[in-house]
């Protein structure tokens, strides 16, 4: 809830002294609300008002950066409860819990798998984000594992350790990687808080409910710890979703700064399916960091894909550059397939053309990211549009034949397109899955 010009006006001196360069305090307030001037232009605003206005200008959920270099990522700065209201901004980090009770060989094997979890979907790279090291009881072993992990992965780390003594040494070892501390609780608050401050590390704070959490974050703030991440502990999934929803609502609807931080959840399910179900449920409902154990690539792909879906911008469908794409060793005899520039459509068509092993051109039309039927209905996939794109891409110079293949769903375009482009129009399959057999039968 941003302040209106009037809200701001109430906090100004109301003397209309013009020092700020504007005729009245009200005019200044209006400009301030639009963020076209800065508060520093008014030399007479009281300290108290200044504090209120500065706090107001901060995002309701603090943005926190995790990790360093290429593998860093941001959390928080979310502004809505439902993605259709605008969009969800910072994708949750997916991390893997590794226990220090495992052998070096087991840990190495896990890290190798984790490092390999990179997928590509619709032109985006999907990655996992974190490795979380869990302290069990032996200090020496934990520190060994920290060293091992630092050597074998570049992913950001979470140190799951509530013993200040051990944690301090682990932080010394890992400090160049800016690890997350997990974490503080009512018992160890001061000691762990001091470490977080000293090492400037993001700190996970755990308490069972929002009342207790609020107390802890307020204390940590006075201790000078800035980057906090909220955790409400182990609970059944329905209660966890309730907690995550409350945290988001507290920050956005109540402007409760003490809870205006990203959150963390740990999924404890041994069945990979249940683990993925729970992890994806938390992705949809606001979690900032999700720690899991599973290492099956099919499980991880499903989690990362759901994250990609939910965090895509509802106002801006993923698009590719509209142009002609050669697939395989094309010649002047290769077929030309026409589709939209909506990423999902293009990449689905591309995958099937590749699978067919028939070299072909794909001409992607600028439909502003709309799919075939939507674009056709909106007149963005019309005969004129396509004709122009065919000319712009100089298709007639690339191939010697005069055939264009259009998606089965827009068979109705054939006549008009034949007339406007002067090409022979061949109606292709409706679903991309039909492309391989279609292309094979074509030749």
């Amino acid at each position: 809830m941003a302040f209106s010009g009037l809200d701001i006006y109430k906090l100004l001196p109301k003397t209309n002294c013009r020092e700020c360069g504007l005729a009245t305090c009200l005019a200044f307030a209006m400009q301030l609300a639009k963020k076209t001037v800065g508060l520093e232009k008014c030399p007479f605003v009281s300290e108290e008002s200044k504090n209120i206005l500065e706090a107001q200008a901060l995002p309701p959920i603090k943005q926190i950066t995790i990790g360093v270099d290429d593998n860093h990522f941001d959390l928080g700065n979310e502004t809505v409860l439902f993605r259709h209201e605008e969009k969800f901004r910072n994708q949750p980090g997916i991390g893997f819990v590794i226990e220090d009770s495992l052998t070096d060989a087991q840990i190495t094997q896990r890290l190798n798998k984790i490092n390999d979890f990179k997928f590509e979907r619709v032109g985006q790279e999907l990655k996992v984000n974190l490795v979380a090291l869990k302290f069990s009881q032996n200090e020496k072993r934990y520190l060994e594992v920290v060293k091992l992990v630092l050597k074998q992965t570049l992913l950001p780390l979470v140190l799951i350790c509530q013993e200040a003594q051990v944690l301090r040494q682990a932080l010394v070892l890992a400090q160049t990687r800016a690890p997350v501390i997990f974490g503080a609780n009512p018992e160890n608050l001061n000691l762990i808080g001091a470490l977080a401050k000293e090492f400037n590390a993001p700190l996970v704070v755990s308490a069972a409910d929002i009342v207790a959490l609020t107390k802890l974050t307020e204390e940590l703030k006075t201790l000078g710890v800035k980057d906090l991440i909220l955790d409400t502990g182990d609970k059944p999934v329905a209660e966890k979703i309730w907690d995550l929803t409350q945290l988001r609502r507290q920050a956005l609807k109540k402007s409760n700064r003490a809870l205006g931080y990203p959150s963390l959840v740990v999924v404890k399910q041994s069945d990979p399916y249940q683990e993925a179900i729970e992890a994806t449920a938390y992705i949809a409902k606001y979690a900032g960091i999700i720690l899991i154990q599973g290492l099956d690539s099919w499980e991880i792909l499903s989690i990362l894909t759901l994250r990609q879906d939910i965090y895509s911008d509802p106002q801006k469908p993923l698009q590719i550059e509209p142009k002609i794409y050669p697939v395989g060793l094309v010649t002047d005899k290769s077929p030309v397939l026409i589709t939209t520039n909506f990423s999902l459509t293009y990449y689905t068509v591309l995958a099937e053309v590749e699978a067919s092993k028939v070299p072909a051109y794909i001409l992607s039309i600028d439909t502003q990211g709309m799919s075939v039927l939507t674009a056709w209905a909106a007149d963005k996939f019309s005969a004129e549009y396509i004709t122009k794109a065919v000319a712009d891409a100089k298709v007639k110079e690339l191939v010697k034949h005069n055939n264009l293949i259009i998606p089965g769903y827009v068979a109705m375009l054939s006549g008009d397109l034949e007339e406007s482009s002067g090409c022979n129009i061949i109606v292709g399959p409706k679903e991309a899955a039909g492309i391989p057999s279609f292309l094979k039968n074509l030749s």
């Binding site: 609020t214 329905a238 979703i241 249940q274 179900i277 499980e299 499903s302 990609q308 879906d309 895509s312």
Partner: protein, 311 residues
């Protein structure tokens, strides 16, 4: 001051739709399954009453399985050759509480089965299994407009859920459903305004909103799932805020979409989890009835729901 919980109370309630008529109501089904009836957002147990957990139907075809992924062919085995055994296997072996049959055989590409023969199949199916039925068309508009009314009549009094009514063609179907005592699936292409408009047109013909289930048209995980997800969230919020014309439960055809994807063909686990996550994500958006295909995906989703609805 301690922070107070933000508890949303909504004025609206989603209509409860019943599927299946038992003998005391003139049908022959073993159960009456209810969906809908909640007055809060999905999984917000502390804010209202979620009268009925989401339900799952197993989807079969009225002809031997065609165009099915290898994994589904493997799991149903020989039963796929005979739709009646296929249905029976779903019920007896996999514990299906609802069967959804797609009248694929009437499609010109799959044999052009006549309305009469299609109706006969429904009669046989009703004898073979006593789970409540969902009956849907093949997608060929011309044939569907004759075949589905014939099937509706063959199942008169069984209170099936029948679909799909679309904006361009709903009248015949609504008339059939009214005459034969069923409920109706109203399908809209990921569009909240069309969903609303269609519900108004249908209820104007005398079929009450408590007999309509919305098919918002979904995409699978990674294939446009988020569009349906947000349309469903928006529609549900509008319904709970008091818009009765959107206050119908949602049906989502998860299996068809999930098993069509490239990912589902990579390995069995990938396919099963693809169907599973598509289903559970849509439950979060408000799905009340999921039409699924793989028994393991069904059991994974059911397990999750048991955990959610555990008292």
């Amino acid at each position: 001051m301690d922070p107070q919980l933000v508890v949303d109370k909504w004025p609206g309630t989603i209509f409860t739709v019943a599927i299946g008529a038992k003998s005391n109501e003139g049908g022959s089904r073993n159960e009456e399954i209810k969906i809908g009836g909640q007055n809060c957002l999905p999984l917000m147990f502390k804010e209202g009453v979620i009268a009925h957990p989401p339900q799952i139907a197993f989807e079969i075809l009225d002809i031997p399985g065609v165009d099915l992924s290898e994994e589904l062919v493997k799991v149903y085995g020989a039963a796929l050759k005979d739709p009646l055994s296929w249905a029976q296997k779903c019920v007896q072996e996999f514990g299906a509480k609802l069967i959804s049959v797609k009248m694929q055989g009437s499609h010109p590409d799959f044999g052009n089965r006549s309305p009469l023969e299609s109706a006969k199949f429904i009669e046989l199916l009703l004898k073979k299994v006593n789970a409540p039925l969902i009956i849907t068309g093949s997608g060929d508009d011309a044939n569907d407009s004759l075949v589905i009314p014939a099937c509706s009549e063959a199942a008169k009094g069984e209170r099936c859920l029948i679909g799909s009514a679309v904006q361009d063609s709903y009248k015949t179907l609504v008339a059939s459903v009214l005459a034969d005592g069923h409920s109706l699936i109203a399908e809209s292409p990921i569009d909240i305004n069309i969903a609303k408009q269609l519900n108004i047109l249908i209820s104007d013909m005398g079929l009450g909103l408590e007999r309509i289930v919305i098919n918002p048209t979904i995409g699978a995980l990674g294939y446009g799932l988020e569009y349906a997800y947000s349309i469903m969230e928006r529609a549900r919020i509008a319904a709970l805020a008091g818009d009765k014309t959107l206050a119908c439960p949602f049906i989502c055809f998860v299996g068809q979409e999930a098993w069509k994807t490239k990912e589902a063909k990579v390995n069995p686990e990938q396919g099963i989890i693809w169907e599973t996550i598509t289903a559970t994500s849509l439950i979060q958006a408000g799905a009340d009835l999921l039409v699924m295909q793989h028994p393991r995906a069904v059991s994974k989703v059911s397990q999750f729901m048991e955990q959610l609805f555990k008292k």
